[in-house]
């Protein structure tokens, strides 16, 4: 109590001092033509709802002063362009370049550091620059988890998959550099194979409504976006380093990019990262065999002509992930014993080690993408993307075969290779009577090969053909949007039945459609409404999986008679501010008919004892949720953020609950910014408390064990931006699970075996040169 009082006193004492420098922030930068990177001279930038604003100079440079901290809406215009808006959270003086797609004059053209897009009425979340900087080097699933309304499903501490609106795996789509990421995403223990250092920005679009990105993503879309290639001559770069104390993780990434004066239209970027971590430490013991090794590299080559541009992107992801040895079990008796134990057996707790032994996963993912943009004379634009992806996944069991000759070969017990090709064409049409239209089509071919005797899923070939169209019209205060998409999927599975391959053929068509509206209630308040209908064809594992799920001691069987899922959803979002309080509240309601889920079928007797058996079945499901974020600006330096996430899911046919639905959670954060010299960027300190409630909405028959208790975690972070000569840097400290709390999380598939990671101090250094 005394501590809290003294903190309050400190805050009260500081606030008048801080108030003096309120409304003194500066925003400056350049307004640039997105298409040929030329400066847009005399473009104007002003605050919505006030006359405050400036014009850029002849080189497109602008400087806005006297800004109060908080969320601001800026209107950016250029001759011939309709005014457009960008929402920015400004807590410190900063430089920000805005890209305007000049050729696309009457369309929505402004976007901060990303490709141009029509405005979505679906709820979209992004990380701000500080959140991005504080999550550098984390796996993708853990980065996205920092977004409001996004959580994660994990297998141990190293494998993390994003969960959006309660959905994961087959029900969300990840677009990496504009290309649908294709790996073995059906698996709960298969994390997205993407180097998090490659991307400059992450966006999550909730719900299935964004038809241009794909069909059947009932949870939503994750967009992993790079920053634009440089256009100024010279070589620049960025170095990132991360060290974490808990598992002694070292993670480093280097990026170099440039443009040559002699060939200004050509730009390039090369990037690579290395990661090594050892055994994870829970508050009371180490988890044996939980190290990770990863090396990734990528390059981008770009060419921008007068009316066209081309970009080649290549990336390779290589990862070896140790699987906690204590999570390996032989049968249900072993699992029951593991659940009864309060901590893993001594043989599964060893001291610190970097060594990765069996069981482990070895994963390689490769992406090559060629993108062409053609700006049409009438104002339209064509965008063509051709890509190829390889995904090789090898899973090594804890024990090698008993036969010594076989054991010596060290062959993975489960091995899959996936090869997929995607060709996608988007056509943004010339505006007609104020209506903006985009049409597109995609061809996708995927071939999966099982290289091991264990064939949890079979070999298959999948062809998918999709077309979409969307239109948008913006009135004074109202924006309307409608979109429709049709996907036709042909699947040919070749499955081993009684030691013979048999072929099975499936064809599914799926419609995704979407209508939405946005309404600007006042300068400060906006409402978005989105209604969508989406169908999802069953995925390969739902149709044909067969076998034992390691780690959960359950037998899982696919069902080739599954019907496609049909979802109807409504999303409502309100965003705005009132005095010092700004807020964003999103609510969603989704009903899925023929929802595909694992239904318990009693026990099956095997030679290793009895196993609970699950079959993939159709049912009807209902998901309701609310994601709310409120920011209260206490002073120019002190900000309080509170976040609440609720999700209710149920099975309508059996009147029971669904499994693996994230529990409700809340997060409180206090952020303090301190500037000791006017010309410097502010030092940032924050304290965060997250509380995850116990998942009380569960059915005993469907769960392997009772969901764990709720837990609260404290974390603290500090960031120090600095300039040294021409170098710009940022030193960040992040202390997670500060009080070494012992807890287990319902969404972690290893919750039966071990406590979660204990205290971890992460030290980050980032240098731009």
């Amino acid at each position: 109590m005394l501590k809290q009082l003294s903190l309050l006193a400190l805050v009260l004492w500081l606030s008048p001092l801080l108030a003096q420098e309120s409304c003194a922030l500066k925003l400056s930068g350049t307004i640039i033509d997105e298409h040929d990177q030329s400066a847009l001279s005399y473009a104007s930038i002003q605050f919505m709802g006030s006359s405050k604003g400036v014009s850029a100079d002849d080189k497109g440079k602008y400087e806005l002063g006297g800004i109060c901290p908080g969320i601001h809406t800026l209107i950016i215009t250029h001759i011939g362009c309709k005014p457009d808006t960008v929402q920015l959270q400004i807590n410190q003086s900063q430089e920000r370049d805005f890209y305007l797609e000049h050729h696309w004059e009457e369309l929505k053209t402004v976007e901060v550091e990303s490709e141009s897009d029509l405005e979505q009425t679906a709820s979209t979340v992004e990380l701000d620059s500080n959140e991005l900087a504080d999550s550098k080097g984390l796996p993708l699933g853990e980065i996205l988890k920092k977004m409001n309304g996004v959580s994660s499903m994990r297998t141990g501490s190293n494998i993390s998959k994003p969960v959006i609106q309660g959905f994961s795996a087959n029900r969300i789509q990840i677009l990496n550099h504009g290309v649908q990421h294709e790996g073995q995403q059906w698996g709960d223990e298969h994390a997205p194979e993407i180097d998090p250092f490659v991307s400059a920005n992450y966006r999550v679009i909730k719900g299935a409504g964004a038809v241009k990105y794909g069909g059947g993503a009932l949870g939503g879309f994750v967009l992993v976006e790079p920053k634009p290639l440089p256009t100024k001559p010279g070589i620049r770069g960025e170095w990132n380093g991360l060290f974490a104390t808990n598992n002694r993780m070292g993670n480093t990434a280097l990026m170099l990019e440039g443009n040559f004066k002699q060939i200004p239209k050509f730009s390039w970027r090369v990037q690579g990262s290395l990661k090594k971590s050892g055994n994870i430490r829970t508050p009371n013991y180490y988890q044996k065999n939980t190290g990770v090794e990863e090396y990734n590299l990528s390059y981008t080559l770009g060419y921008k002509g007068k009316s066209w541009s081309a970009q080649l992107y290549y990336s390779q992801f290589n990862s070896t992930i140790g699987i906690f040895s204590g999570a390996h079990i032989g049968n249900l008796t072993d699992l029951e014993r593991a659940i009864e134990r309060s901590e893993p057996r001594p043989q599964d707790q060893e001291g610190f080690s970097y060594q990765i032994r069996r069981p482990y996963q070895l994963i390689t993912h490769e992406l090559v993408r060629l993108e062409l943009n053609k700006y049409l004379a009438n104002g339209g634009k064509l965008n063509l993307k051709i890509s190829r992806q390889f995904n090789i996944r090898e899973e090594f069991d804890k024990e090698r075969p008993r036969n010594r000759d076989l054991a010596a070969l060290n062959i993975p017990e489960f091995s899959l290779s996936l090869e997929s090709y995607i060709a996608e064409l988007h056509w943004e049409l010339k505006e007609w009577k104020g209506i903006q239209t985009e049409l597109g089509g995609v061809l996708n071919r995927q071939e999966n090969t099982v290289n091991s005797f264990v064939d949890f899923i079979p070999d298959y070939e999948r062809q998918r053909f999709g077309i979409f169209g969307l239109a948008q019209k913006t009135f004074e205060k109202v924006g309307l949007e409608a979109g429709c998409r049709l996907d036709q999927t042909d699947l040919l599975a070749s499955k081993l039945v009684n030691r013979q391959f048999e072929e099975f053929d499936h064809a599914f068509s799926a419609i995704t459609s979407n209508v939405g509206a946005s309404y600007q209630l006042s300068n400060d308040w906006k409402i978005r409404l989105n209604l969508s209908y989406a169908e999802r064809a069953p995925a390969i594992n739902e149709l044909y999986s067969e076998g034992l799920h390691h780690g959960t001691a359950t037998l899982e069987f696919g069902n080739s008679n599954l019907k496609k899922e049909k979802s109807t959803s409504l999303n409502i979002e309100a965003e705005g501010k009132w005095k010092k309080l700004s807020m964003n509240v999103q609510a969603f309601h989704q009903q899925i008919n023929d929802f595909i889920y694992l239904s318990p079928q009693g026990v099956d007797l095997t030679i290793r004892g009895a196993y609970p058996t699950f079959d993939w079945m159709n049912t009807d499901a209902l998901m309701n949720g609310v994601d709310a974020k409120l920011v209260y600006t206490l002073s120019s330096a002190l900000e309080y953020t509170t976040q609440w996430n609720f999700l209710w899911a149920e099975d309508l046919r059996t009147n029971t609950y669904l499994v693996m639905i994230p529990a409700n959670r809340t997060q409180q954060q206090l952020t303090y910014q301190w500037k000791w010299k006017e010309e410097n960027e502010a030092i940032r300190l924050s304290a965060t408390y997250q509380y995850v409630f116990k998942q009380n909405r569960f059915d005993k028959e469907e769960e392997i064990a009772t969901p764990p208790e709720g837990y609260g975690l404290w974390s603290f972070s500090a960031a120090y931006p600095f300039t040294y000569g021409s170098l710009k840097g940022r030193l960040g400290l992040q202390l997670n699970n500060a009080f070494n709390t012992v807890y287990r999380d319902y969404m972690n598939r290893f919750r039966f075996y071990t406590d979660e990671q204990g205290r971890d101090l992460q030290i980050r250094l980032s240098i731009k040169f």
Binding site: S415, F453, Q500, F501, L555, T606, I607, R608
Partner: protein, 191 residues
């Protein structure tokens, strides 16, 4: 000229990475769809447990099976009832087989014997007192359990749980450590 050298270098770097990766993929085993070939990485299955009874003179013999040749799921396993003499002393030997391919039955017992320091067979009489079991083989330090001598009490019936534990590096002569490779329940009748 210099800039073109640089450029060329960059492209070459790209090309090497490209091909290296393609090769990688080609190396992986490809099984031909539609054919009947099974990849060299054949999994070691245990589908059958044979309990071989013999009297202490090695004269009378009988064999009882737990059989699940189609593996997990599919058809239910076939389980024999152990018909054993009451108030008698006799020997039991175990065999573990892979009968998933009827044309190529594999005996896994030899492999278990080769790694006897990593394996341990546990017997658990669910009723408790009807049979007492003495393990008669050894890996040098601890018993293994593939051969044992049983002493039965009066006429009764019950359930016997037989499990094969895989205990590499952690074997201590008890059933607790390691993972379970086999766990079957045999009904028995003593008369």
């Amino acid at each position: 000229m210099k800039r073109f050298t640089r450029l060329a270098l960059l492209f070459m770097l790209g090309a090497t990475v490209f091909t290296a990766c393609k090769d990688d993929d080609d190396d992986s085993v490809n099984n031909d769809n539609g054919g009947t070939t099974i990849t060299p990485n054949e999994e070691e299955l245990i589908t059958t447990v044979a309990v071989i009874y013999s009297d202490t003179m090695g004269m009378a013999m009988d064999t009882f099976y737990f059989r699940d040749p189609d593996g997990d799921g599919g058809n239910s396993p076939e389980i024999d009832t152990l018909h054993l003499p009451a108030n008698a002393v006799f020997d039991i030997n175990l065999q573990f087989l892979d009968e998933s391919d009827p044309n190529d039955v594999e005996d896994i017992t030899a492999e278990i014997q080769m790694e006897d320091d990593e394996h341990f067979v546990c017997f658990e009489d669910q009723a408790g007192l009807a049979i007492s079991i003495e393990l008669r083989d050894s890996d040098g330090t601890y018993p293994v359990g593939l051969s044992s001598r049983w002493t039965s009490m009066g006429a009764t019936q019950g359930q016997l749980k037989l499990s094969l534990k895989h205990q590499p590096g952690v074997k201590d002569g008890t059933c607790a450590p390691g993972d379970t490779d086999v766990e079957v329940d045999f009904p028995y009748v003593l008369n």
